[in-house]
């Protein structure tokens, strides 16, 4: 009875993972040269690849900014929306939008905001007499610009989890605290935050994974440019694998990426889990 499930599991998850690990130790097959075992060669070229290091650095900055910002924003928005009765439906829908929209569409909208000369930001900036700025074309602002898009998209998504959790907290807890004279901040710190901890864990694991998994908006908005300033690990991987067709090297990057992700996610789960109340 277990067999069908096992077959599916192996075919769709285990086999590709194992195949990737094997591929990472093999050379890339060419029409006249079959793939051979090359040991750690692929990993060595990774270490020597400056673009890999740049992508890794970019990705770390990207993660460092998106994770706390999107969670913080999601939580604040959820608290704000949850506290207001009137027009809740409308508000919730407004915040839902980023979730429903595909990342490609989101990226296109923001592309319009950022576009030099015609873009929304330009026009608004122009009203206040600010100098023209090419947000996505300038190495100094490109990474920050795509980070903002990711935060916007992620916050809307995470807010729904927080909102659901907040709706599950009995309003009489707030009233009991109010009678005791607890202010907003005390109530948040002593009651809401601990009760939201399971949601925070779930959301932050997702945030970490997404920070290394999001690539659509890079493809649409900058293609890693200018000068690899917005190249994230997955985008670099995509270029190596599908532009330069270097399968062995791409497999090696994949293994590193997966390994790092799994470690972070597991560590997070176990460390934070201890603090969570269920």
């Amino acid at each position: 009875m277990l067999l069908p499930a096992l077959v599916l599991l192996v075919a769709f998850t285990h086999y590709p993972a194992v195949a990737t690990i094997i591929d990472s130790f093999m050379s890339t097959p060419k029409p006249n040269r079959p793939s051979v075992f090359v040991g750690l060669d692929n990993y060595a070229s990774m270490v020597e690849d400056p673009i890999f290091w740049q992508a890794l650095r970019n990705n770390l900055w990207f993660a460092l900014a998106t994770i706390p910002l999107s969670i913080g924003l999601a939580l604040s928005m959820a608290l704000w929306v949850n506290g207001r009765m009137a027009g809740r439906g409308f508000l919730r829908m407004a915040y839902f939008t980023p979730t429903v929209l595909p990342m490609i569409a989101v990226a296109n909208i923001w592309l319009f905001f950022y576009t030099p000369t015609y873009g929304l930001l330009e026009q608004i900036g122009g009203l206040f007499g600010l100098p023209s700025q090419n947000w996505l074309g300038d190495k100094a602002t490109a990474l920050a610009s795509i980070t903002v898009v990711a935060v916007w998209k992620e916050a809307g998504f995470f807010m729904i989890f927080y909102l659901a959790a907040l709706q599950g907290i009995s309003p009489s807890l707030r009233e009991a605290a109010a009678i005791e004279g607890a202010g907003r901040w005390f109530f948040f710190r002593r009651v809401l935050w601990p009760l939201l901890m399971p949601t925070t864990i779930f959301v932050s694991v997702n945030a970490v994974i997404n920070a290394f998994r999001m690539v659509d908006h890079v493809v649409v908005m900058t293609r890693g440019g200018p000068d690899n300033a917005t190249s994230l690990l997955l985008y670099h991987l995509y270029e190596v694998g599908f532009k330069y067709w270097d399968q062995g090297y791409a497999a090696a990057i994949t293994v590193v990426l997966l390994g790092a992700l799994a470690t972070v996610a597991l560590a997070q789960f176990f460390v934070l889990d201890k603090k969570a109340h269920y």
Partner: protein
């Protein structure tokens, strides 16, 4: 002296009148019960006193101070919620000292007061448990301890016993009452259970559809219901209310000559109707209750309940003769208000 006063307090939810303009005085040190059927505005009244909702009109005074626009924390009162509202992630001890921590009481004071509250309610062994590891009765005691530890003079309780089983509820009623008297608390207690109200209250405030029907001691309300509603609500079972039609019980020839002027209804308690008299009636149903039986009889188009001893038994359809004495009857006018019998001029019975 009255500790809490509602002056022309009204509460509307959109078009719904949850509380019509109401005046109410709640005396200090007493056990006042807000009693009434579901949806009559008991919780609304309590929440207005607590400051969890704001009145649509009128003023609320606590200890002579106008607190209408003050937040709950400024009213110096404690509250036990119907669902207890314990913080699920905090231990029993942390739940109880929550308010003391808000007020930044010293560690020593916290632990002293905590110890006192735990002893008072017999919770010492449970101090490190989480609320989910407690039974309903224990949770209720924690909620009570949390309310008492603040040492507020006023304690509001919204149906605190409704989630408990009959046995435990009985015990907790006595405990609550004893505690209130021991600590000299002013308790405002909400319930829809008239038996609970009668057994605990110093004063009952009977509410119906957002209006006060009657305020009085349990004895007064039992003996002298001020309205038809009060007559039908108080007592287990309550009074039978019979419509009158030109001096006789409706649909029958039996005259009620002593009825005061303007009376359209009369009421009588089941225990004050006896068998063997001159009022012809037909039995429609009979309910065996152990020590006694409740027999429902029809007179004309009206129904009356009769309490008889448990040994007696009657088939439905049986014809009987009933008796009651004039002074046990209550009369009400077409507005449902009590009309007192004119005892100074006794009217001729037959």
């Amino acid at each position: 002296m009255s500790l809490i006063e509602l002056r022309d307090v009204e509460k509307l939810w959109g078009d719904v009148v949850a509380l019509s303009p109401t005046n109410l005085l709640i005396p200090e040190g007493g056990f006042t019960v807000l009693l009434g059927p579901s949806g009559c505005g008991k919780t609304t009244t309590l929440r207005l006193i607590a400051g969890l909702d704001a009145p649509s009109a009128g003023q609320i005074f606590v200890a002579g101070r106008d607190v209408t626009h003050e937040p709950p924390s400024e009213r110096n009162l404690a509250m036990v919620f119907q669902n207890y509202a314990l913080f699920p992630h905090l231990s029993v001890a942390d739940n109880i000292v929550f308010g003391l921590q808000v007020r930044k009481a010293s560690k020593q004071e916290q632990s002293e007061r905590l110890a006192r509250a735990l002893t008072l309610l017999g919770l010492e062994k449970l101090r490190d448990r989480k609320p989910s590891q407690l039974s309903g009765g224990q949770q209720q005691r924690v909620a009570l301890a949390r309310a008492l530890v603040a040492e507020a003079k006023i304690c509001l309780m919204d149906e605190p016993l409704s989630n408990l089983d009959a046995q435990l509820r009985q015990e907790m009623r006595q405990e609550l009452r004893a505690l209130q008297q021991k600590l000299g608390l002013t308790v405002v207690y909400v319930t829809h259970d008239q038996a609970e109200a009668m057994s605990m209250a110093d004063r009952v405030v009977l509410l119906n559809r957002g209006r006060i029907e009657q305020v009085g001691s349990p004895r007064e309300i039992y003996a002298q219901p001020a309205t038809v509603f009060a007559a039908r609500f108080i007592g287990t079972p309550p009074m039978s209310v019979l419509a009158l039609d030109s001096g006789a019980i409706k649909g029958s020839k039996f005259g009620v000559h002593a009825a005061p002027e303007g009376a359209t209804h009369m009421a009588v308690r089941p225990e004050q109707v006896a068998l063997g008299g001159d009022i012809p009636a037909t039995i429609t149903a009979s309910e065996y209750l152990g020590a006694d039986s409740l027999v429902r009889c029809q007179i004309g188009s009206e129904h009356v309940a009769v309490r008889i001893t448990g040994q007696q038994f009657f088939e439905p359809g049986h014809n009987v003769q009933l008796a009651w004495s004039q002074e046990t009857l209550h009369y009400f006018d077409s507005d449902g208000q009590r009309v007192d019998q004119v005892t100074a001029h006794p009217l001729n019975g037959e």
